[in-house]
Point group: C2
Chain length 259, copies 2
DNA sequence: CTCCCATAAATCGTCAACGATATTTGCCTT
DNA sequence: AAGGCAAATATCGTTGACGATTTATGGGAG
C-alpha cells in the first residue's frame, strides 16, 4: 500500500514503516517506543543511553535525539543530569488522555460526516462486523486490532492533518498505562454497539449524531476503564471461567522498585 | 537520604518536577522558538545547525536535540540528509489547528465549570473588562495580551494536565501562520462578547452553555480569521477609515516573553 | 552497631572531528 | 550557446572522547 501522495516531492523510496523523513533517529525512536510499549521498559525506569546505543548498534547521539523527540511526544521525561526516564502514566493522566481523545474523536466525527466516501463507510462496516465476530469468538486480540483500525479509519479520514498527527500520540501515551487492555467481555458488545451507531450516523449523514456518538464512545471507554479498575481483577462475577475476562496485555509488573 | 545541605543553587526554583529541567537544550529550543516566532526564521527556511550553534555559543549537539524536540512539537520538520526546516503553516493547517483548539477549549470549558473558584472567576472577569477597555482604546497589544491570559486561565485551570500541555503547543504552531494577528476592529467586541458570555456561563455553573460557548468561541475565531483573509487587506469595504481595520499583525510582538 | 563522610564508579551533557550526502560551480561536449 | 557531467564546497549524520555531576561503595567516628 502506498501512502497517499502528500505534498513532498523528495519523498522517494518508501524507507521504513516509521514514515518519518529523517534518519536513523526515527528508527531508534521507533525501537525505543517499541521497547516501551512491549513492556520491556516500564514507567519510571531510567533509560541508559550507552546501553541502548550499544544494543542498537549506534552511538549515543541518535539515542539522545530520539529520547528528546520522545520527550516532546510525552513518552519519556528528562531530568537534569540524570537522563531520560520513561513517563509514568497514572490513572489521573490516563483519564485526562481519555478526555482529550473524546474531544478529538468528536471533532473527527464531526468533520468526517461531510467528507466520508462509500469505500470508507464499507471499511468501517467491515471493521464493525469483524469486531462483532471477534466478540462472539471471544478473540480479544482480533477485537483489539479491528477496534484500532476502526478508530484509525475515522481519524485518518477526517481531513484534519493535525488531528491525524495527534491521535496516535495520545494512543501511545495511553498505552503506557499499565492495566491498559483489561477488557470485560460484555463491554465488547457495548463498545461495538456504539461503533455501529456511529457508522449508522455517518451513513445517514447525521452530523450532530455522529459528533455526539463519537465523543460519547470515547467517554464510555473511559467509564469502561474505570469499571475494570474498580471491579475485582478476576472473574468473581460468574466464576464460570477465567475466559470471561481476558488480560490481553501483560499485566506484568513483576518487580518494580524505584524511588 | 542525606540532608540537602548546600542547596544554594539559584536555579529557577520549583521547576524541576515539570520536566522542563534538562540542560541547555531547553534554552536552545526556547531561543530557536523565539527566532521563529519573532519572524527571523520564516516558514520553509532551513536551519543551519553550525551557524545557530555558533550564535548560541554552543555546539551542534544541543542544537540538534532542540531541533528534534521542536520537530515533534510541530515547529520544524526534518528532511533526511538535508537538515531541519521551519514548518510552513498554510491556511489549511491553520484552520485545522483552529478545529483542534475548538475541541480542546470546549473540553476545557466543560471541565472547568465543575472546579472553578471565585478567585479564578474574578481573574476572568478582570481579563474581560481589560479587553473591553483595550478594545475601546483600540489598544491591540493590550487586547492580545489579555486575550491570551483569558484563554490561558481557562485552560490551565481546567484540571486536565495533558490539555494544559497541548494548548500552548497549538498556539505556537498557529503563530507560525503569517497573517496571524490580522484583526478587524469590530471583531474585538464580538470576541469579547463571547468571552463575557463564557464567564457568565461559568458563573451560573451552566455546563452545557460553557461547553458550547467555549467551542463556538474558537470556531468564531476561525471564522474571523477567514473573514480577515477573504476581506481586502485595507478598508475598501466602507472606506470610512483605515482605522476600522487594524493590522495588529506586523505587530510582531515587541516583547515575547517566554513563559 | 549505626551514621556520616571521603573516595570510586557510573552516567550524563557537551564538544570537536570524520565520513557521507546534497548543492553549487565550472568545464567540456554537441 | 545550451545542456550535461565532474570536481569542489557546504552541510548533515554519526562517532568517540572529555569534563561534570550523580550514585554507589567503603572506612572511620560516635
Amino acid at each position: 500500500m502506498k501512502t497517499p501522495n502528500q505534498h513532498t516531492k523528495d519523498n522517494e523510496a518508501g524507507e521504513e514503516a516509521a514514515g518519518k523523513t529523517s534518519t536513523g533517529v526515527a528508527s531508534v525512536a521507533a525501537r525505543i517506543e517499541h521497547l516501551i510499549s512491549s513492556g520491556e521498559l516500564v514507567g519510571g525506569d531510567r533509560i541508559n543511553e550507552s546501553a541502548l546505543a550499544q544494543e542498537f548498534g549506534t552511538s549515543r547521539g541518535p539515542v539522545r535525539e530520539a529520547c528528546r523527540a520522545l520527550e516532546h511526544a510525552g513518552l519519556v521525561r528528562s531530568v537534569m543530569n540524570r537522563g531520560f526516564f520513561v513517563q509514568e502514566i497514572g490513572l489521573k493522566e490516563a483519564l485526562d488522555i481519555y478526555e482529550l481523545r473524546a474531544a478529538l474523536f468528536r471533532t473527527a466525527g464531526r468533520l468526517l460526516v461531510e467528507r466520508i466516501s462509500q469505500t470508507e463507510l464499507a471499511a468501517l462496516r467491515h471493521a464493525v462486523d469483524a469486531m462483532d465476530a471477534a466478540a462472539e469468538a471471544n478473540d480479544m486480540h482480533a477485537f483489539y486490532t479491528f477496534n484500532e483500525t476502526f478508530h484509525t479509519l475515522i481519524v485518518e479520514q477526517c481531513g484534519n492533518s493535525k488531528l491525524v498527527e495527534l491521535w496516535p500520540r495520545l494512543q501511545t501515551q495511553l498505552n503506557l498505562f499499565r492495566r491498559r487492555s483489561l477488557v470485560v467481555r460484555g463491554a465488547l458488545h457495548d463498545a461495538n454497539a456504539e461503533h455501529r451507531s456511529i457508522v449508522e450516523a455517518l451513513e445517514r449523514g447525521d452530523a450532530t449524531a455522529a459528533t455526539l456518538l463519537c465523543e460519547r464512545h470515547v467517554l464510555s471507554g473511559k467509564t469502561r476503564l474505570l469499571n475494570t479498575l474498580t471491579a475485582p481483577p478476576l472473574g468473581t462475577r460468574h466464576g464460570r471461567s477465567a475466559a470471561s475476562i481476558e488480560t490481553l496485555s501483560a499485566v506484568q509488573d513483576p518487580e518494580k522498585d524505584d524511588d
